[in-house]
C-alpha cells in the first residue's frame, strides 16, 4: 500500500562500483523503512549507474538526494522524475535521464548537478 502524501519517483545515480557503494546507496532508502520495488544496476563506461524506483513523500525526496550527494563514490545524481502509473511505466523517465548517463559513459568528467529543480534540494537557492 502506498502511503498518502507519497509519489512514485525514479532516481538514477552514477557511482564508482567499489565495495559497498551500491549498498550505501540503497541503505539510504531502506533506513527509512521504504520498500524497493525496482533496482537495476549496470556498468556504464568508467562508472556504474543504478536506477531506483521508490515511493517517497516530499521530505524524503529531498533527504534521499542530499544524503546520496555526500556518499563517497557517488559521482552524479540525475534529476528525480515523478512517474504516474504502475512501477513498470517508466519509459519516458528513463530516456530523459539516460542522456546524462550517456555523457558519463563517453568518459566525460562527472560534474555537479545543474542548478535546476535539483538545486533546490541542495543549496544557495531561496525557495520563498
Amino acid at each position: 500500500m502506498q502511503e498518502a502524501n507519497t509519489a512514485r519517483y525514479q532516481f538514477q545515480l552514477a557511482y564508482y562500483n567499489r565495495q559497498g557503494t551500491l549498498m550505501r546507496i540503497l541503505g539510504i532508502v531502506t533506513r527509512r523503512g521504504l520498500d524497493l520495488p525496482y533496482v537495476h544496476a549496470e556498468p556504464c563506461g568508467d562508472v556504474h549507474k543504478v536506477t531506483v524506483r521508490v515511493a517517497v513523500n516530499p521530505k524524503q525526496l529531498g533527504q534521499l538526494c542530499r544524503e546520496w550527494s555526500v556518499t563517497p563514490d557517488v559521482v552524479e545524481i540525475g534529476e528525480p522524475i515523478q512517474v504516474i502509473g504502475t512501477w513498470n511505466a517508466f519509459q519516458r523517465a528513463r530516456s530523459r535521464v539516460s542522456a546524462k548517463m550517456r555523457r558519463l559513459a563517453k568518459g566525460e568528467s562527472p560534474r555537479q548537478p545543474r542548478r535546476s529543480a535539483l538545486a533546490r534540494l541542495f543549496a544557495f537557492v531561496p525557495s520563498r
Binding site: R18, Q19, G27, G62, V70, P72, D73, A123, R128
Partner: protein, 566 residues
C-alpha cells in the same frame, strides 16, 4: 619487503598518528607483534568500547584523527557504539579491525563477523582489505575521508593473512585518493550576499544559533567577530557550547530540550534564524513542525545532507564555515542594520529574570558553579549522559572551544570515563575532569584500570543519585512516577571500588543548612580534588529525585517548555 602489519604501522605514522587505542586478539596478533618497532604509542584499554571512546576523546579534543584497534568478531562488534557516536558527532576516527583469514571469510569461521556490512550505515566509508599491496592506498584514503568535509568514522577490516603477507610498497602514497564525497568548496562567487542582506534588512527579530560546526571548522573567533557586530540574541547547542564566551551580552546559553528560557523564546519568536553549523536536530527544535514558526532560516553548514531537516530553508549556505562566516561578515560590512534594540531588550530582560535553578537540583547546580569557578583556563570537562550532563551544560562557563566534550548525538552512556582518557593523553597539559552519573560510570568503570596503568591525573566526579536519573525524571513527569527498573540504590561503594583500582576517592553530600545546599568546605574539597597531581574520584551524593529544568517534553514545541517543578 614488509609484512602487512609493518605496512599498517608505517602508514599510520605517515598520517601523523602518535597514539592508538586498542585491545588485542587472534586476528590482530600480527599487528601487535610489529608494534614495538612502529614508533607509535599503544594504549591498552580494558574493553574495546573503552578504546574507541578514548580514541573519540582524543579526536574531539584535538581535531586529529583518532585510531582504535580491535580483533575480529566480538572485538569488532564492541566498537560499534563508538562508531555510531563518532558518526553522529562528526568525530574523525579510523577503526582498524582484524578479520579471519581470507580463505575462511564467509564460512562462519570462529570469530568471524561481517563488520564491513555491519558498519556500512554507521561509517562515512569502510573497506574490507583484499590484498597486502593495497594497504597504503586504503589507509591513505581512509584518513582522507575521515578528516575531510564533515569529519566522521572510517573502518578498515584486515584479514589476518594479509597482515602476515609481504609486499613491496611505497609509503606514503604519492597520489591523492581519487574519491571521497563531493564536499562543497565554498567558492566566494557562490555566496548569496544579496539574499542574505535583504533577509537581514527585513528582519525585526533576528536570533543566532551556534553549533559544533563552528568549532570543527576552527571558525569560533570569526563568528565572535561577526556576532560582536550583529549583537543578536544567540544560543548554543550542546556541542556549540564554548564557541561563544559566556560573558558576551548577547549570549543566552544552551537551547533546546533543557535550554534556557530566554534562548528558547529567542529561537521560537525569531523572524530570522541564523544557524551556524548546527543540524537542528529534534533535541534542539522540539516538535519540528512547530519550530520557530515565523522565522526565515539562513543555514550555514558543511554537510548538505543536513539541510532542510525542519522545513525548506530560505537560505541554505553549504560550505566550510571557516570560509562562509567571513564571507557572511564581508557581505554585511557596509550594511546599515535595522534597529533591533526592542527585540534585544525583550530577550535580555528574560535572560536576567531567569531563576538561578530551583528545587531539589539546587545543590547539584551549585556544585557545578563551584567546580567551574575553580577550573583553570586549559580545563576540559568530559561529560557522560543523563541529568548530570544537562546540569553540567546549563552551568558551563566556556574555558575553550574544545573544553566541553560529551556524546551528544548518540547520547551514549559510558562515554565520559574512556573519553577523558583519550583527552588527557592528547592534552597532557590540560586539567581533565570526567563528570558522570552513577549509571553511566558503571558502563565503562573498568577503565579506571587504564587511568591507573598510565598514571593519568584525571579527576572523576560522579553524581550519585542512585537512580538512572534522566529516565526516572521522565517516569516521574510523564509515566505517573512508575519508576520501573531505574532504581540503583544497590550501587557499589564507589570510593572503595576506586581504592581497588589504586585511585583515591572521597564523598561529599548535601547540607540543607547551607544556602546553596552544599557543605561549607565544598570549595576546599573541590580545590584539593582538582589540584592533586594524581587521579582522584569524588562522589557527590545527589538528592535522589532532583530534576532538570527547564524542560521541553519530548515531542512538544519549544514554546511549551516547563520552567520548573510544580
Amino acid at each position: 619487503m614488509r609484512t602487512g602489519a609493518e605496512i599498517v604501522w608505517a602508514c599510520l605514522r605517515a598520517e601523523g598518528v602518535d597514539t592508538v587505542f586498542g585491545y588485542p586478539g587472534g586476528a590482530v596478533i600480527p599487528l601487535y607483534d610489529a608494534l614495538h618497532s612502529s614508533g607509535i604509542r599503544h594504549i591498552l584499554t580494558r574493553h574495546e568500547q573503552g578504546a574507541i571512546f578514548a580514541a573519540g576523546g582524543y579526536a574531539r579534543s584535538t581535531g586529529k584523527v583518532g585510531v582504535a584497534i580491535a580483533t575480529s568478531g566480538p572485538g569488532a562488534t564492541n566498537l560499534v557504539t563508538g562508531i555510531a557516536d563518532a558518526k553522529m558527532d562528526s568525530v574523525p576516527l579510523v577503526c582498524i579491525t582484524g578479520q579471519v583469514r581470507t580463505s575462511l571469510i564467509g564460512t562462519d569461521a570462529f570469530q568471524e563477523t561481517d563488520v564491513f556490512g555491519m558498519t556500512l550505515p554507521l561509517t562515512k566509508w569502510n573497506r574490507l582489505v583484499v590484498s597486502t599491496e593495497e594497504i597504503p592506498e586504503v589507509v591513505a584514503e581512509g584518513f582522507h575521508i575521515a578528516r575531510s568535509g564533515r569529519p566522521g568514522p572510517v573502518l578498515l577490516d584486515f584479514p589476518v593473512d594479509l597482515l602476515k603477507g609481504k609486499a613491496d610498497v611505497r609509503i606514503p602514497v604519492t597520489h591523492r585518493p581519487k574519491l571521497g564525497p563531493r564536499w562543497p568548496n565554498s567558492a566566494k562567487a557562490d555566496f548569496p550576499a544579496p539574499a542574505l542582506r535583504s533577509l537581514l534588512l527585513s528582519s525585526a527579530k533576528p536570533t543566532a544559533l551556534v553549533g559544533a560546526g563552528v568549532k570543527l571548522a576552527g571558525a569560533h573567533l570569526a563568528l565572535q567577530r561577526l556576532l560582536d557586530d550583529l549583537q543578536v540574541p544567540t544560543g548554543a547547542t550542546l556541542h556549540g557550547l564554548g564557541a561563544v564566551p559566556e560573558e558576551k551580552p548577547y549570549f543566552l546559553g544552551l537551547v533546546g530540550m533543557h535550554g534556557s528560557h530566554a534562548a528558547n523564546v529567542a529561537l521560537n519568536e525569531a523572524d530570522l534564524l541564523l544557524v551556524f553549523g548546527a543540524r537542528l536536530d529534534d533535541r534542539v527544535t522540539g516538535d519540528p513542525s512547530k519550530f520557530a514558526p515565523g522565522a526565515r532560516i539562513v543555514h550555514l553548514e558543511i554537510d548538505r545532507s543536513q539541510m532542510h531537516r525542519v522545513r525548506s530553508y530560505e537560505l541554505p549556505i553549504v560550505g566550510n564555515l571557516a570560509d562562509t562566516i567571513p564571507q557572511f561578515h564581508e557581505a554585511i560590512a557596509d550594511l546599515r542594520l535595522p534597529d533591533w534594540s526592542e527585540w534585544k531588550k525583550t530577550i535580555a530582560e528574560l535572560r536576567s529574570g531567569e531563576r538561578n535553578g530551583s528545587g531539589r537540583a539546587l545543590p547539584a547546580l551549585h556544585l557545578f558553579d563551584e567546580l567551574y569557578a575553580l577550573l583553570p583556563e586549559n580545563a576540559i570537562v568530559v561529560v557522560d549522559v543523563g541529568q548530570h550532563q544537562m546540569w553540567a551544560a546549563q552551568r558551563y562557563r566556556a574555558h575553550s572551544p574544545r573544553g566541553f566534550i560529551t556524546s551528544g548525538g548518540l547520547g551514549a552512556m559510558g562515554f565520559a570515563l574512556p573519553g577523558a582518557i583519550g583527552v588527557q593523553l592528547a592534552r597532557p597539559d590540560a586539567r581533565v575532569v570526567c563528570i558522570s552519573g552513577d549509571g553511566g560510570i558503571q558502563m565503562n568503570i573498568q577503565e579506571l584500570a587504564t587511568i591507573r596503568r598510565y598514571g593519568l591525573a584525571i579527576k572523576v566526579l560522579i553524581l550519585d543519585n542512585k537512580f538512572l536519573g534522566m529516565v526516572r525524571q521522565w517516569q516521574q513527569l510523564f509515566y505517573s512516577r512508575n519508576y520501573a527498573e531505574t532504581d540503583l540504590s544497590d550501587n557499589p561503594d564507589f570510593v572503595t571500588l576506586a581504592a581497588a583500582y589504586g585511585i583515591r576517592g572521597r564523598r561529599i553530600g548535601v547540607d540543607p543548612a547551607q544556602a546553596n545546599g552544599l557543605p561549607a568546605d565544598t570549595p576546599d574539597v573541590l580545590k584539593r580534588f582538582l589540584d592533586s597531581p594524581d587521579p582522584e574520584l569524588l562522589v557527590f551524593e545527589c538528592p535522589r529525585e532532583a530534576n532538570v529544568f527547564p524542560m521541553v517534553p519530548s515531542g512538544a514545541a519549544i514554546s511549551e517548555m516547563l520552567l520548573e517543578e510544580n
